[in-house]
């Protein structure tokens, strides 16, 4: 199993490398660039813009060679400040720092500096990660529980009123645009009823500092109830938005997996043996229906990550999805690369988790 995991991770390296190439060149090839923010500013001269770009190791209207250099700088192969493939120690730049290589680029663990925020990309992302993680984990747990409950019950009571209601709602919610659902929830529950807040992750009035920063944690431990409750209230609408759409699709999925399992011979055998219905459903049918559900559940983490873009934008949550949108608006190459890179790693890891869990849950599957 360990060998399998290592092999899979090694196979993922070229794919992640290719996606970084595609994404970087996509951004470089497009007209405009981060210098567009100076377009309307008549106090900034062209020379100043060029110097500013050079500070970021970028050039205006890059040719193919310039693009390669810029990408090499991001990756860590190109020593941009010396303008060569060699590091300051005159050794190949891609070598690790202690072997005389450079210190810039992903290969050396340097994610670059955000053009828009003028802070290291890794720090910015780490600061925004807690909100996204909290949002995604909460949504993921609720979503999985609900999908399982609704799907299994709909399958067991097939064609009943309950089944038809679940079917109707899942078709409807599945077709609703997520962001529009979010807007409607804001209108109903925040604007009209004043039940839940519609913006941010905590109320500015009682907020001790940015969410999950050290200041925040210190304040949190003095009064967990107050700060926890505040964050929980702010999570209700975003999580509902995120969950509603995914549950709609996945309760159908659970239902069909469960139905297939209920039609198998071993379920009939279990019933024939005289086992109780509850035992037949949960010990025999459900355990076998779990296989496709587990795979699907792990794969949907990547889907939730893109769902975070939608919900964080609508509810102004300072997470990674919102950061991504801000980076897009500012044409911030390095920030965008950092977030896409995290997305790629999430996909690789959870694809692997899905396959490993599959083998754990199904003893017939072996990976060696």
């Amino acid at each position: 199993m360990t060998k399998y995991i290592v092999r899979r991770l090694l196979q993922a390296i070229p794919v992640v490398f290719l996606i970084s190439v595609v994404c970087f060149f996509l951004m470089l090839l497009a007209p405009g660039g981060p210098q567009a923010q100076f377009n309307q500013n008549r106090f900034v001269t062209q020379d100043q813009v060029n110097a500013w770009l050079q500070h970021w190791c970028l050039v205006r209207n890059p040719g193919p060679l310039d693009m390669l250099k810029e990408y090499g700088g991001w990756l860590g192969v190109w020593n941009c400040h010396a303008g060569s493939l060699l590091s300051d120690q005159n050794l190949p730049n891609f070598l690790p720092g202690f072997l005389g290589g450079g210190d810039n680029g992903m290969l050396h663990g340097d994610w670059g500096i955000s053009i828009y925020l003028n802070q290291p990309v890794a720090d910015v992302i780490l600061g925004r990660l807690p909100v996204t993680m909290l949002l995604m984990t909460t949504a993921w747990i609720i979503w999985l529980t609900l999908a399982l409950l609704l799907g299994v019950m709909a399958a067991v009571k097939r064609y009943s009123i309950f089944d038809q209601i679940v079917t109707f709602f899942s078709y409807t919610f599945y077709s609703l645009p997520t962001f529009w659902l979010g807007l409607m929830l804001i209108y109903i529950f925040a604007v009209s009823l004043h039940w839940f807040p519609s913006q941010l992750i905590q109320s500015p009035r009682i907020s001790p500092g940015p969410f999950a920063s050290s200041v925040w944690w210190t304040a949190f431990w003095t009064n967990p109830g107050k700060y926890g409750w505040d964050v929980a209230m702010h999570l209700v609408l975003p999580v509902t938005t995120l969950v509603a759409v995914s549950v709609a699709g996945d309760s159908r999925f659970v239902r069909s997996a469960m139905l297939e399992s209920l039609n198998q011979d071993y379920v009939r055998t279990a019933r024939a043996k005289g086992l109780g219905e509850r035992r037949v459903i949960f010990r025999h049918a459900f355990r076998n229906a779990l296989l496709p559900i587990i795979t699907n559940g792990a794969l949907e983490v990547a889907f939730l990550f893109s769902g975070a873009i939608v919900t964080e934008t609508i509810f102004s949550l300072q997470g990674m999805g919102y950061l991504f949108i801000q980076g897009l608006q500012a044409h911030d190459y390095f920030l965008l690369m950092g977030i896409v890179f995290i997305g790629a790693i999430l996909v690789v890891v959870f694809n692997l988790v899905a396959d490993v869990l599959y083998a754990v849950a199904d003893p017939r599957i072996r990976y060696d």
Binding site: I19, V22, A30, L176, W180, S306, V347
Partner: protein
Amino acid sequence: MTSRIELPLGVEASVQSTGPGPERSDDVEVALKSLGQWQLAWKRFLRHRMALVGLAVFSAIALIAIIGPIVAPYNPIDIPGAKEQGGDPPTLQHIFGTDDAGRDVFTNIINGAHISLAVGLFSTLIAGVIGVIVGALAGAAGGFTDNVLMRIVDVTFAVPLLFLILVAAVFFGQGSVISLILVFGLLQWGLIARLVRAQFLSLRETDFVEAARAVGVSNLRITFRHILPNALGPVIVVMTLLMASNIVLEAFVSFLNFGIAATEPTWGNALSNSQGAMGDGNWWWAFFPGMCIALTVISINFIGDGLHDALDPRARL
């Protein structure tokens, strides 16, 4: 005198007797007409009630998209000024209300319909054509070609696609409908290519392909006459669902102001403009465009559901 006999699978027969009575059996002519795959599929589709409703609703929306702008009650860019600040709620004159500039929301929806539908349809067609070509090439050629093509597909699956689409839309979209269609289409063919390739791999092993090969049919003919038509069923279903999701995607990208230029009256732009109005309680401004998107998507999804049942070759009539 014509009597019809119910025959089970894909065969229609009519019995015409020329003589005066049924006892003159030697004068009875039996004409058998077998139904083609597509006729059978159409018959199965007609049995799917929700799909028919979906088709009717979608046709109505498509009709509105085409002739709507001609018969729309107001000029979409006519700005008479709203009576109330932030737009008037729905009244008999403006059944969906007006936005803050006093533009009729209903008129804007009608004028935006063709853009939404065009983005959904054409981006899906581009993705479909590229996907079928690449998938068929990979499935039919196998070996090195297959490997290279599938690694390219892997790359588009290596990140949540929304990220890549947003990057491409922001950097290349520039507010034009055609570039948005291209961005969607060129980034989404991977799924269809995978599907077509999988179909090719499984159909290649079937008996009828084996039989065709045994009687000496050329590889080219086997690919185009025997495998491709059978592989198309699932592709059409997936393309239907893709079209629905692309309509939502267009609205979302425009909602973020990264899509079609804000001056165009698209559904996404209508929602984008309304984002601030929601806080003031002007719900109609966002509600109706969103409902239109939802209605379109639901009807397309039901059509897809019907097609799924209809195009399944194992299904009986």
